[in-house]
Symmetry: C2
Subunit: 300 residues, 2 copies
């Protein structure tokens, strides 16, 4: 045994190297697995404005992460594309609701979630104008991060129904906590979703996490979920304005399968699915009430 | 050296145990660090409806987790409270937009984000009715998970402005990726936010993660973020219907400080902040265009 022979050191003391190698691999794995903390590298240490930031929820953290970590970034191209945007004087609102917000309230307060649809056809022009209206919503950095897929093809509607019913069956039978199932009880929800084939149209709203610029680089869409959900709020008002019933649903775990079915790109994720049409003659709704304004509004 | 003496085995071969112990600790650390997967314990193995579920985003995972993991759950109390909800026949929509969806589109397409406000007062009744309208939005299991805080007090507005400007200064100077700052360039956003004190009202919209029932137990609000963002879409339509300008902002990292200032409970998190009022006489807006409907609508 020669302690000073290089080859012999490795052979004799491999037991000492092994833990070091293992620790190294573990640290690499830990790091790969860890959610990166966007605040870590740039968190200010003594700025008076810096406050406790620990109770951000995952979507906030996600938004902020995408906003601060950017690969494929070409500032020059982006600046060149955007700095041509001129400003113009704004004369204020020109179009309001006939009758004002009192009448607008009457309209939106008349909206109810409808789970049973007539097969009576709906004029395509109405649906298209509703989607067009939804597209007027605001979005982070004006990215307009939404895609509205509108299905009238009965075979595709049937496929969507099968995907959702299979998954909902699993949800109800195996996955859901007893509480959620109980919460939904007064709404008589179950895994049979006739509205998915009865309603003349299904609208699947996808949020776009990013888009590809002409130069092939990614453009991040900050706050794409909030922006797209806001546009769904405008969509609901549009449906109501057109006399169309709808229902906002969030098919649990079905996003990937539905995205594949509709061949949407990986940048898009399903936010909500809405059947659209006229309520069936024998449609019933739960006799629920909305909170009075004093319960949702706090004055300061 | 006695290979068969227990004590001696450990002393002589500690080099063999060390890597095993290290691997064990690493696995434990990996597991602690990992985001829990709500599907793991109950994932079906051979159900035909079970599909690839791997590209859920964090907010989806969060929603599903809260839906399935429930402490403090008293099914009997919940069932007793809810099973009294009767169903009633639904005669269909009675109130639509005068002029239909074509006119509704004209109204929402007239909306622009306004960053410079007149100090001209706004009738409180208008603002209240807009909030009331927003409260008609749909929500997961009819939880109505939103609180609208409306600020007219000029001292509180000043405090809000200081919180946000300090934080925004830090954002702009230190935190933001160069891309985000560049994306926002055509909107002329910077860390000075005069609208926070100029606008007659600020509306801070909080999403409620849960509420407390009378028996002191938690009621989870599923999909509270999507629901609240949809209600903000309705709110924007309401402001437009009332002839009021607004602006949707998401003050980065300010949620906790603003929640503390307004003394909102821990169950509530800031989603967006909107100044509300009339555009200043010298208000300018970027000459941006919206995507044509063909770019946001896909027919199947």
């Amino acid at each position: 045994m020669d302690l000073f022979g290089q080859k012999n050191i490795i052979i004799e003391y491999w037991q000492f190297f092994l833990p070091l190698v293992t620790i190294g691999i573990s640290l690499i794995l830990l790091n790969l697995n860890r959610k990166p903390d966007p605040r870590e590298s740039s968190k200010p240490t003594s700025k008076p404005g810096a406050r406790e930031e620990r109770d951000l929820d995952p979507s906030e953290i996600e938004s902020q992460k995408s906003a601060r970590e950017d690969s494929n970034y070409d500032e020059d191209a982006l600046t060149a594309a955007l700095e041509g945007v001129a400003h113009k004087p704004y004369p204020g609102i020109k179009v309001t609701f006939p009758g004002g917000v009192e009448k607008f309230y009457e309209m939106v307060n008349d909206r109810r979630s409808v789970r049973k649809y007539s097969k009576r056809p709906v004029d395509w022009k109405l649906v298209e104008k509703c989607i067009h209206s939804a597209g007027t919503g605001p979005s982070g950095a004006h990215t307009e991060p939404w895609t509205f897929c509108v299905i009238s093809d009965s075979e595709i509607k049937q496929q969507i129904r099968e995907i959702i019913e299979n998954e909902e069956y699993t949800n109800y039978a195996q996955r859901m906590s007893r509480q959620w199932t109980t919460d939904l009880q007064p709404l008589r929800t179950n895994y049979v979703k006739e509205y998915l084939t009865d309603a003349p149209y299904l609208v699947l709203v996808f949020k776009q996490a990013y888009s590809m610029r002409e130069d092939g680089k990614k453009k991040q869409h900050y706050y794409n979920e909030i922006s797209t959900a806001i546009s769904v709020g405008i969509l609901l008002c549009a449906f109501q304005s057109a006399g169309l019933n709808s229902l906002v649903t969030t098919p649990l775990n079905c996003g990937p399968a539905l995205r594949n079915l509709l061949q949407r790109p990986a940048s898009e994720k399903l936010l909500v699915l809405l059947p659209v049409g006229y309520a069936a003659d024998d449609c019933e709704i739960p006799d629920l009430h909305r909170k009075p304004v004093e319960e949702i509004l706090v004055k300061y």
